[in-house]
């Protein structure tokens, strides 16, 4: 499922990154010097209290934002100082990102949402079977033509997972994917993640608030005040 990187090989290396937000004249340090290494095939859980810097860290890793200082290497290539165009290209080809709020395009069906990123790379005819297969894998084979508003929160999150996987990413990032779901839907989504990691070798980095969800990961990284503790 994921692009093949030998298990145990470093995919991401983060060296002492910092990030400060500016709210008017107030400076809010979100990351104050984070370093970490992520190996291929890992399922990493990031936890911490609100404001600890979890989402900020994930956005830096997912190339949605740039750190103020420090470096991020993806497959040994520094990606923290490249242009937005290059980052967009890496996001498209190598990374999958799942938002807490699902972030689906409201006017596209589940299938069309999943196919959309792949249309940048391959003909529609070639993508369709794969998109259907991914939706089937997350248990939505009967709802491929439903619009997001016709799906439950858990189902929408599964569509977002399938969309994140359509271009066979090297790493899948998930920002509190179960935060808006009931416990049954949350367990369902986590089971999908676990299967993807165990059966397909997809490297996953997931943020969660829930203590019991940390059990799904190989490794738990706890953040407090912008630092790994």
């Amino acid at each position: 499922m994921a692009k093949q990187t030998p298990t145990g090989q470093t995919i991401i290396e983060v060296k002492n990154i910092t990030k400060t937000y500016h709210l008017g004249e107030v400076r809010v340090p979100a990351l104050t010097g984070v370093s970490l290494v992520i190996q291929h095939g890992e399922f990493i859980i990031i936890t911490g209290r609100n404001g600890s810097g979890k989402s900020t860290l994930l956005r830096q890793l997912g190339l949605l934002d740039n750190p103020d200082q420090g470096s991020i290497f993806l497959e040994k290539v520094e990606v923290s100082k490249i242009s937005e165009k290059e980052r967009a290209n890496i996001r498209l080809n190598k990374l999958g990102y799942i938002f807490q709020e699902y972030a689906l395009i409201a006017e596209l069906t589940a299938l069309e949402n999943v196919m959309l990123p792949a249309m940048m790379l391959q003909p529609i005819k070639a993508i369709r079977p794969r998109a259907i297969s991914l939706l089937s894998k997350v248990g939505l084979d009967k709802k491929i033509n439903n619009l997001p508003r016709q799906l439950s929160g858990g189902e929408q999150q599964k569509v977002a997972i399938a969309r994140a996987l359509i271009n066979e990413p090297t790493v899948l990032f998930a920002d509190e994917p179960t935060a808006n779901l009931d416990s049954i839907a949350a367990k369902d989504v986590l089971t999908v993640f676990k299967k993807l990691n165990q059966e397909d070798g997809v490297t996953i980095v997931m943020i969660t608030h829930e203590e019991e969800e940390t059990l799904y990961g190989h490794r738990v990284i706890k953040l407090a005040d912008g630092l790994i503790v």
Binding site: R91, E107, R163
Partner: protein, 403 residues
């Protein structure tokens, strides 16, 4: 075709097909109203100018008119000339008019006006005065000692709101009035009163050539003006070219050369039209811009998501250009439908009543196309600007607004 090029078309089409129908309808309705606003004012002014022009053509000069050569008071042998003119290709009808100044006297009220001696059968084919009778009836070719008066001569009698000391103050059909040409006076019976709304015509009186011949036999077969109606308006110069070949004893003009006053009125209206059109276009453009801008700006998060999943900015911008173009084309189509199906027919039945003419709405194809293009371009620019702004802002700001 590269697969990525299809993305903007797919996204724009899905937006249109699956967006909230009320919102979509409202946007298109606003577009159509803006478009109607853009074409209404020029159409009204075109209608007013056309109304003026038709008044000149239909009540005074025809499409083409012939006047005596320099040094001559009349065109001789007018009956034969009319006959020759009507044989020319493109000419529908012609009529000789002998305009002479006369003094009309009714119960002590008198004034001087132009009396027009005509052949009613010919005149009916060229002018529409015969259709503008408000009392009595038009002249017949055999009428002797009868006269029809423009309302500017007959006056309105006891109607104080329109009282004028310079007319005959309420002459009625059947009344007898005295007409004096030079030293010769004659009693005529009023057969009808007409109102064309064109002042220079409404201050005329008409009698038959037979009546005038009876009073002044020396002017038989002479005319001071020959007017001609042509089959196709706009071909005046072509027909004038053919008439020139006849070497007629007169000067030939098109109706546009008839009146400097009316030309200056038309020029003034054209200037006002241009100024109002600029404001109309500006207001419509701002309306369209705001509507599209708000619609695209509310899709900020969606644009952010598209960027986050790796869709190239130019594809995102193209999506919203296509979307804006679809909105504007739909608005133009709806506006055109409403304008031609409801507004124009309404004003055809209820024209603007102006003192000099009744004005309907007249759409000039050039104006229509120019305004259509303007609206579509404004909509495209209005869609493109926020799309560019959002695709250039920080990704997190595009998705979440403030982070």
């Amino acid at each position: 075709m590269k697969s990525e090029y299809k993305i903007p078309f797919i996204l724009a089409w899905k937006h249109i097909m699956r967006a909230n129908k009320w919102t979509l309808s409202l946007i298109i309705f606003f577009m159509s109203i803006a478009f109607i606003n853009m074409i209404f004012v020029p159409s009204l002014f075109n209608g007013i100018i056309d109304g003026f022009n038709q008044q000149i053509i239909n009540t005074s000069t025809g499409n083409i008119f012939i006047t005596p050569r320099g040094g001559q008071d009349t065109i001789p042998d007018s009956d034969n000339i009319v006959s020759e003119i009507t044989k020319i290709s493109g000419v529908a009808a012609a009529s000789a008019e002998l305009l002479v100044p006369g003094t009309l006297n009714y119960e002590g009220k008198k004034g001087s006006w132009t009396i027009n001696a005509i052949n009613p059968d010919d005149e009916k084919m060229v002018t529409n005065v015969s259709q503008k009778m408000i009392e009595g009836s038009y002249l017949d070719v055999s009428d002797i000692d009868q006269i029809i008066l423009g309302q500017g001569i007959a006056g309105t009698g006891n109607d104080e709101s329109n009282f004028s000391p310079f007319d005959l103050q309420g002459v009625k059909v059947g009344d007898t009035i005295s007409v004096t040409f030079g030293a010769v006076s004659h009693e005529l019976t009023v057969k009808g009163i007409f109102r064309t709304k064109f002042d220079s015509t409404d201050n005329n009186a008409f009698i038959t050539q037979e009546t005038f011949k009876k009073i002044n036999p020396q002017y038989a077969h002479e005319a001071t003006k020959i007017i001609a109606k042509i089959h196709t308006e706009g071909e005046e110069n072509i027909v004038i070219g053919r008439l020139d070949a006849l070497n007629l004893p007169g000067n030939i003009y098109s109706w546009e050369q008839a009146s400097n006053l009316m030309n200056s009125v038309s020029d003034s209206f054209i200037s006002i039209n241009v100024i109002l059109s600029i404001f109309g276009i500006l207001i419509a453009a701002i309306t369209v811009f705001i509507v599209i801008y708000i619609d695209i700006s509310t899709r900020r998060q969606e644009i952010g998501i598209l960027r986050a999943i790796g869709i190239k900015p130019y594809l995102i911008q193209t999506t919203y250009i296509i979307l804006s173009a679809i909105y504007s084309v739909a608005g133009v189509m709806l506006g055109t439908g409403l304008f031609f199906a409801i507004i124009i027919p309404y004003f055809n039945f209820h024209p603007f009543v102006l003192p000099i003419a009744d004005a309907k709405l007249l759409v000039a194809p050039g104006d229509f196309i120019a305004r259509m293009e303007t609206l579509i371009w404004v909509a495209i620019i209005a869609g493109l600007i926020p799309a560019i702004v959002i695709t250039r802002t920080k990704l997190l700001q595009a998705i979440w607004g403030s982070k």
